[in-house]
């Protein structure tokens, strides 16, 4: 088959059978691909993307805003990679989608929202178009200090720095960890975007530049151990930065919290609530961390943990990944991921959805409001739950 374009894994795309296993979790309870669920066209499912990739590589269809929307609506949750029955190549599915996006970026055919996202990062170092100087203001009143040779850097990320809900989470986590005696500092306004979404969205050059800046900062400041607020940053630092020359140990804050609770450094009182936990894709499926958040919740006296129907590696994404948190390509229709997810949470009988990611927190919080559930369901970060349960 003759291709008029090329991507690194172009020799794989024709091997997709478009059978649709990738649309589901293992037990087929509901569609687990957010873009397919939202749009309902087979083109927006992983199999559809693979087939369209083949059409596009062979020149049978051209680059277009529609094609761009199909690819940039992927939230990179990796469900397809796990569920595809073709063991010989399924691990490359996310790479293929990313490579197509990278080509579209280089052709200049990207959705306007994605273009704006890149522009904001380039100009402001964050997608909110807010001044860099404001990046560290979330920490005011927490007592957290600038990083100067403490054991850990507490890296907060763009959502944690600028988004209202993210900032609240950052304050909770920062306060909890430092009060428990963790030696950590922050970069404040010196912090730069980790670039995880930039990379997923195909802006390879920008990602490499962001990585270079961050790695240089880590080296200059002697930062070798990082605690992240955001699983997206965890993913970038842990899995992508080493390829760019970083030598860092990375933890998510839930791993630290779980350890502190196990060691008795955080005393907990009764917090009677029925809580369900939403596995963030970048903590769970991408990085295999499922137990630490659950261990924390189970350690809270009086807290009853109930599982969402789709949990752990079968969790349904909140819809915020793949840059969608900022680009909102999936929209907020009835079948958008976050709305589906909070409806699923309500069915567990829980009154609280615990989250471990600021992106998930915001996505699900907004969905609760749109669904009119705010009298029955509250979205709380794990840190906030622990804070509420903490013995003063």
């Amino acid at each position: 088959m003759e291709y008029v374009r090329s991507i690194e894994h172009g020799d794989i795309v024709h091997r997709c059978f478009r059978c649709g296993y990738c649309k589901f979790p293992l037990d087929y309870v509901d569609f687990n691909c957010p873009s397919y669920k939202a749009f309902g066209w087979d083109t927006y499912a992983p199999g559809g993307r693979m087939w369209l990739a083949r059409a596009w590589l062979s020149g049978e269809i051209e680059s277009s805003q529609t094609l761009a929307k199909v690819f940039f609506s992927c939230v990179s949750c990796d469900n397809c990679k796990d569920q595809c029955v073709f063991e010989r190549f399924r691990e490359y599915l996310p790479d293929i989608f990313r490579e197509v996006k990278a080509e579209l970026v280089s052709e200049g055919v990207v959705p306007p929202e994605v273009r704006d996202y890149f522009k904001a990062i380039i100009t402001n170092g964050n997608p909110y178009k807010l001044p860099r100087e404001e990046r560290g203001t979330w920490a005011e009143g927490t007592g957290l200090k600038e990083f100067r040779n403490q054991e850990y850097l507490f890296y907060v990320g763009c959502v944690g720095s600028y988004d209202e809900i993210g900032r609240k989470m950052a304050r909770s986590v920062g306060t909890l960890l430092s009060q428990a005696g963790v030696s950590m500092g922050i970069l404040g306004s010196e912090e730069t975007c980790d670039g995880n979404e930039v990379r997923i969205l195909g802006e390879v050059g920008l990602f490499e530049e962001l990585a270079r800046i961050n790695i240089e900062t880590f080296k200059e400041r002697g930062i070798t151990r990082i605690i992240t607020l955001d699983p997206h940053a965890l993913n970038a630092f842990k899995r992508e930065y080493p390829k760019q020359g970083a030598a860092i140990e990375v933890f998510h804050y839930t791993e630290m919290l779980a350890k502190l609770i196990r060691e008795g450094k955080i005393a907990l009182a009764e917090y009677p609530a029925t809580v369900t936990y939403h596995d963030p894709c970048y903590l769970g499926r991408h990085n295999g961390i499922y137990d630490a958040p659950r261990d924390i919740l189970r350690a809270v006296p009086g807290l009853e943990l109930v599982e969402l129907r789709r949990n752990r590696q079968f969790a349904f994404c909140c819809g915020g990944g793949g840059g969608n948190f900022f680009t909102d390509i999936l929209g907020t229709g009835e079948d958008s991921a976050s709305r589906v997810r909070v409806r699923e949470a309500l069915q567990t009988g829980a009154s609280v959805i615990a989250v471990a990611c600021p992106t998930c927190a915001k996505m699900l919080d907004d969905a609760v409001k749109i669904e009119g559930m705010d009298d029955r369901l509250e979205v709380l970060s794990i840190a906030e739950i622990v804070s509420r349960a903490q013995v003063r």
């Binding site: 024709h14 059978f17 087929y28 066209w41 269809i61 051209e62």
Partner: protein, 459 residues
Amino acid sequence: MSETLQSLKEIVGERGVSNRPEELWFYSRDPGVLDPHLPDYVVAPKTTEEIQKIVQLANREKIPIVPMGNGMALTGLVIPLKGGIVMDMKRMSRIIEVNEMARYAVVEGGTSQGVLAAYLQDHHPRLRHSLPDAPPTTTIAANVSLHGQGRLTQQYGFNSDMVTGMEVVLPTGEVCKIGSPSLGPYWFSKGPTLPDLSGLFLGWLGATGIITKVGLKLFPNKKFRDAELFVTDRVNLVPDILYKLTHLEMLEDINVWFQPKPYIFKDNYHITIYFTGDTEEEVEFKRRMIWDCLQEFMDSKDAGFMNTQYMKEMLLEMPQRGIAAFADVPRGGGFEYSGPITIIEHYPQYAANVIRLAEKYDLLYASAARLISGGHSMMFSISFAFNRADPAMMKRVKDALDEATAFVLEMGGVPWKPNYVEQRMTMEKMDPVSRNLLQMVKKNLDPNGIMNPGNWEVN
């Protein structure tokens, strides 16, 4: 914007219709070997009313409509041979009702097999349906409309035999209830004891109407399920083995399969025997009965049971994910199969034909047969894998399958979900009075010839 497009948008909304190149390209084809053909529009309705309006529009403007589930029949049945509108049914995916006592479910026309299976497991664990081995994204309505089979077919017949009622949008736009739903709120019969109108739609591959709701029989879901694997190298013994097994009247499913690789399977014919029970005693009793009824073959050393320890999980999986994975054997993402219905005594001849075709056309093959209704017939599948990047290989597969259909007709078998070429071959062989009756039904139901044209066309 064309008037048609505008009309469709008014019916299904902005998100329910597309004539964008991406959707048109994707929905012009299926994963089989037939050439694609572009539709003019793709629609994804959510209600029967929307479908009704689309059909009325299509009649007025003489636009073909091709209803589609997931398109995994592989024989081009969802390819819009004459353009028009491809109707993706999968947004109509509600499970409307489960009547536990009467053991039936009523689902919308786009509900997938996997979702129903999961729903029953969660909410009605004492019940199951006849799940096919096709990917779980395939729809129940599509499966029954082409007389599909599933895990309970050996016991209870084709999945279409398990239909308990339908709601259909006729090609002329009326919404019609079929069976007991036409008389009341219960979906327990697709026809009997009235004249069975379900036959006007089941097996017609979407050429006589659009199934918008289907009632489906559910069956007891036993606590335990197990499998034994009986192996022989003498193909001529297979019919007798199957006869003895079906005499037991206690088996869930019986599959007969052979393939040249991996080497563990070389030169042997494998019979997977599935059985269930609510207690371990029941299961062990059935196991002993199975062994005892086949003792003579073991005594002669012509056949025996294989240890299934390492294969058990795969064998008991529902659906078996490995079946789809056959598509990547030639690292090319495709396979297609012919699955004619025949009598079990013809198994050796069909098996010999698979090997002959594979050699003649230089193809990788696998074959799996499933018994139907206690051995009254069987579905015998001949699968050839292909590399989608190799058009010559795809052509060989197509030719091999056409030749397989010719063989089937010669043997007095019945092709299953034939592509439009194989439909013509079938109709040419058919008794002329039967063929005329087919034509009469099609013409009267679909006077404008808009429903999946090119299929079951007698001309």
